[in-house]
């Protein structure tokens, strides 16, 4: 096994870098071994480049195909693949772009990379069954605070510094190409997720973003709501809960044994909201 691990570790380095096999390790009767190695080197860079181009189509449009090739080459050198599943490759692009000397002046690119990665991951994310509202109806309201909600596996919440959703939309084939976007017009609060089969990028209120992010922290709905109300007094739990259930963002919950603090939270106002089974 050691021998196999050594040989293949060496082969890996030969493919990814300009390292060479020791003389006579390879047998190629009809052409120099270097040519055979070249096929693997080309495949390696080509596959990863194409994967990045598939995951980051808008960035590729923004910087141009030729520059994207250079960018991908550098990215590949710094971030080798870690999975046999290529759909997982390329997640470090935002961070890479933030430090890449040739794109540092395009300050909105990392935000765009975050958005495109969220879209890419949402496309391949697991399915989740829609939440059955009758389950909630069986939970006594005093236990609501202890509910731990699970978001759809495709969800990414993004608060960006730049208006990347508008730029993204302008670069879709179906768009009327409105490139009149003021980069200084402020950032987006976005939810990227799959509703049914299609991936959606939707602008959501900052309060909702905060609340959903809190729910993601695996804390009860009571604590999440308290934290949201502290920052956004206008937040309305009843509306939010109903909305995110109806839109397939909240897909499941676990009931916690409510701690006294959670149980004490006044979750709903006098209207006594309970989502009606549809």
């Amino acid at each position: 096994m050691n021998t196999l691990a050594n040989t293949l570790g060496q082969f890996s380095a030969v493919i990814r870098t300009c390292a060479e096999f020791e003389q006579d390790a390879l047998v190629c009767p009809n052409y120099p071994a270097q040519r055979g190695v070249g096929v693997y080197r080309n495949n390696y860079r080509g596959n990863l480049h194409d994967t990045l181009a598939g995951a980051y189509p808008v960035i590729r449009q923004l910087v141009g195909e030729e520059f994207f090739r250079l960018l991908a080459k550098r990215f590949i050198e710094q971030h080798p693949s870690r999975s046999g599943n290529l759909h997982r490759y390329g997640g470090e692009m935002a961070e890479f772009l933030a430090h890449f000397e040739n794109t540092r002046h395009l300050a909105y690119l990392p935000d765009m990379a975050r958005l495109e990665w969220a879209y890419h991951r949402a496309y391949f994310a697991d399915d989740a069954a829609r939440f059955d509202l009758t389950r909630l109806a069986s939970v006594p309201p005093e236990s609501y605070a202890g509910l731990r909600w699970q978001l759809h596996p495709s969800c990414t919440l993004l608060a960006t510094a730049f208006p990347v959703a508008a730029i993204w939309r302008a670069h879709q084939e179906s768009a009327g190409a409105d490139f009149n976007i003021d980069l200084d017009s402020g950032g987006d609060n976005l939810l990227v997720y799959r509703n049914g089969l299609s991936v959606n990028i939707i602008d959501i209120p900052a309060a909702s973003l905060h609340w959903l992010e809190q729910l993601r922290q695996d804390i009860g709905m009571g604590a999440a709501t308290e934290s949201t109300l502290a920052a956004y007094p206008e937040f309305d739990l009843g509306t939010a809960l109903q909305h995110w259930l109806a839109n397939g963002v909240l897909v499941d919950f676990e009931t916690l044994n409510a701690t006294p603090a959670q149980a004490g939270v006044q979750l709903f106002n006098d209207t006594g909201f309970r989502p009606a089974p549809e």
């Binding site: 293949l8 082969f11 190629c28 052409y31 040519r35 999975s83 399915d127």
Partner: protein, 276 residues
Amino acid sequence: MMNTPASKSLPHIAGIGLRAPHYLEVLEQRPALGWVEVHSENFFGGGAPLHTLLQVAQHYPVSLHGVGMGLASPDPLDAGHLRELRRLCDTVDPASVSEHLCWNTAGGIAINDLLPFPYTRDALSHVSERVRQVQDVLGRRILIENLSYYVAFRESEMREEEFLSELVARTGCGILFDVNNLFVNAVNLGVDAQAFIHGIPAEAVGEYHLAGPSLMDGCLVDTHSARVFDEAWALYEDALQHIGKRPTLIEWDVEIPALSVIQDEARKAQLRMDAL
């Protein structure tokens, strides 16, 4: 030994590799395709890809063909990858499941390709153990495909067909005989194609693959980008004679043409099967 029969099996006729550009046409027009094969990893997770495959599976027998398991990798098998494949099998109930005789991950770094390794006795024990692991988790027999490769290792202690035969004996797996891979290896590396055809256990062969390579810089590269070469058809005929009729797949992955072109190649395979 793994003897659990799959609940379904591929028909012994020609099928095609189904790729994204043809999904819509296949679902809307339901052309006469014997069966279809897809790359397993493209359907890990859910959403549109899986939804499409499940629709396809209602009309055609489906074969799941993995490109990312890395059976010969020195690193441990990726348990998450295997779990995803198991889940996909449970969801799709495929007629066949196959993987390649290759590696892809060493020292935590993956090369997303189908890479050759030295055919040594150590490697045989290693790969056998992992084929058993995969078959145990999937609860079914899998087919292992012979590889196209561009370099061979001096360390090798046996030929690929000897390695495969021994793998079959040790694990009960089947063989996916890629005729084009053999043709490519014969041209590039002087592999003895007849010795391969006669060297693998005929009864273990569960499927054939056919595709067209491209010539780059004096090296025949297995690009799946052309019609099947005449020399590969000739080897296919030899295989039919010696091994027998098996489900036969036409693969096309680069510069994918109209579906009718691939169907045309499938018809040529079918004619050769019918002529037996």
